[in-house]
Amino acid sequence: MANDVMTKTTQEEDVLIQELGYDDHFHEHHEGDKYQSNFITTYIFSQDHKMIAKQFLITGMFWGFVGGLMSLIFRLQLGFPEESLAWLKPMLGKWIQVNDAGIGTLAPDFYYALVTMHGTILVFFVLTAGLSGTFSNLLIPLQVGARDMASPLLNMFSYWFFFLAGVIMFASLFVSTGPFSGGWTAYPPLSALPQANSGSGAGMTLWLVSLTLFVVSVLLGGINYITTVLNLRTKGMTMWRLPLTIWAFFITAVIGLLSFPVLVSAFLLLMFDRSLGTSFYLSEIFTGGQALDFAGGSPVLYQHLFWFLGHPEVYIIILPAMGIVSEVLSVHSRKPVFGYKAMVYSILAIAFLSFIVWAHHMFMSGVNPFISNFFVIFTLIIAVPSAVKVFNWIATLYGGNIRFNSASLFGIGFVSMFISGGLTGIFLGNSAIDIQMHDTYFVVAHFHIVMGVAAFFGMFAGIYNWYPKMYGRFMNETLGRIHFWGTLIGAYAIFWPMHYLGMAGVPRRYYSFDSFDAFKHFAGMNKFITIAAILVFAVQVIFIINFFYSIWKGKKMTTRNPWGASTLEWTTPVETGHGNWPGNIPTVQRWPYDYGKDGREFISQVEPLSEQEKKAGVNH
């Protein structure tokens, strides 16, 4: 609080919080101090939601780095198949095979392992835990006006289950048979038969254990998020006064809670098939000329169970990014978000639809074509709420007094990416077009842009925007802009050409195209994509340096509300202690998007409605 410069506005806010807020007797008991008394309880086994958020973020960044590095290695193989990779031998050891002439090539098995691990890590560890884990933890208690989560203890467990899952996954990278290599979706029989592939043995066992622990983490977190949003909102914080971030995190947690247990069921049946000889997924199979003792299993059953999680999972990834972007765009264009209720209803619509479209991942897996029709229709209907959201983001920006900084640029970049990737989704949602497009680079381009890059953009927008709340300092703006432009241009340079590869029928997950006459002439394009990927990765390194440099050396935040935002998290002191508000809990008097109203730049949520507003019948 020492460096907390009080402006006129913040002083007025504090008076309002003292007068209108209510005393929950939080500070009469010194549990907060007791629980944050030493290094271990403050930084490691912390039960404070803000610290847990940072733990999720930094762990997520570590995994982002590892997963990104993996993609670089397999992109090197795809872009420069002729070049020697012998220089990677010190790092990858036996996975680089060096011939007599000293030319090193990537082992095909390891290529598949890299692709599998890249997918698993990015989808689950970075874009689920790193994104939703970070911002749900940071923002839910702060923005709804709560001291902490409903159960800080379970919240701590949520992080440590994630950590444990990470340790096991990391260990699987180092087993001698290699990590699992059957694709991040882990379809049987590759995942169910330990002898199917070198990675299907110990690597797959570790993969299953790790992801099961991960689901525990997601469920513990989700139970907390839902309970906190529904039960711990401060006085006056009605559901229709929640910032869109909270709506997004809340619905994300609901989706996760309904879909992740299904993944556990699928995994459990898989474990029985692997270890105890049941035939849930395995039918009559021959390996190495020998008939195995399985009969009558259905590999498509696994696909149904997996995608019943798998499709909602992509919304678990994208909804938090959408919520963050709605908030960031509104704050930095100094305008209320356009169509608040439409935004909420479209989140709800997307969440509902996400559960009845899973078979569009299985059009070519032998699903009845008549059943496919239903899934096509529901899939295409998702375009409606998505388009509503895109329209509203653009309308929020339109005519706004936009501050172009790293946060808002990434927010705008998100909208761009979401449109580009969303449009190709309409192609792929049609089962007829999917006959040509399935399992090609068109699919790779589509989902990387719409849920990979877009979700990262949402995450970066959130990091740049709430960094001052997390660390009391700002990230370097110049480096932030280099990061933005490098990522935007680079990501399009990587994934735009992939659409053409896909339309030409180039299949995904292939180790090499040398022996296919039809795909040989794409060598130049593959080279271009790889160079772009290296550039994008380099720019992310700049971000990581900027992040850690700014923790200690960044420009200090002098006022507590640097963006002039109206939500509650900016009414807490710069150095936010445990319990978030030093005195009373503020009560909420109005909705979170009063920007540019009555000639004022913004009106905080703690400020009561004026006589004028009451007369005008404002009720949100």
Binding site: G32, Q47, I226, N231, L258, V262, S265, G297, L301
Partner: protein, 192 residues
């Protein structure tokens, strides 16, 4: 801190922890919904060995129903100030819970006896796995009951809001795993 956060909830109708338990029950239910839908999908694909569910599963159902009744009465006795009845019924619930697990095991033995082993056919495998995972959730309930027993016998009898909440949550979960088994049994009967 736990207490600090969960102190003044006079404003909300349901205690957040109780609500969190309900949410957790919802996610457990989804897990079993996945198992039973997998069962239906797999059954529709043929190669499905039909057999009659051993009768011992009906006995175990009666036992778990009784245990639900006894924990309910224990909770009422606790609130009503009848210390001896509360302690006795809690012990009874625990014994009935253990008995349920033993009976489920007998059920598996009976299945194995008529030639339905774990790997014989998916129709049997599903029943082993589903009832096995359910038994694991009963174990969780028994762990909660052990804690409730420790509280009942080690602490001085006192009706405080915190202890009431704790017992009520144990009871809610126990009712839930009971209901879950009834659902599974009805599902098995109607499907085969």
């Amino acid at each position: 801190m736990e207490r600090a956060v969960a102190r003044d909830y006079s404003r909300s109708r349901i205690h957040p922890k109780k609500f969190a338990l309900w949410v957790a029950c919802g996610s457990i239910l989804m897990m079993f919904a996945a198992f039973t839908s997998a069962y239906v999908v797999r059954q529709a694909q043929g190669n499905w060995l039909e057999f009659e569910l051993p009768n011992v599963f009906f006995v175990s159902t009666a036992v778990i129903l009784l245990s639900s009744l006894s924990i309910h009465l224990a909770y009422r006795a606790f609130k009503g100030g009848n210390e001896r009845l509360y302690k006795g019924l809690l012990v009874l619930t625990f014994i009935l819970g253990i008995a349920f697990l033993i009976l489920q095991y007998q059920g598996w033995l009976a299945m194995s006896h008529i030639g339905i082993e774990l790997t014989t056919n998916p129709s049997g495998s599903f029943i082993y796995v589903i009832s096995g995972v359910h038994a694991a959730h009963i174990l969780g309930g028994l762990a909660a009951l052990i804690i409730a027993l420790i509280h009942a016998f080690a602490l001085k009898y006192q009706v405080t809001p915190a202890r009431k909440l704790r017992l009520e949550m144990t009871m809610t979960y126990w009712h839930f795993v009971d209901f879950l088994w009834i659902y599974l049994l009805i599902f098995f009967i109607t499907q085969s």
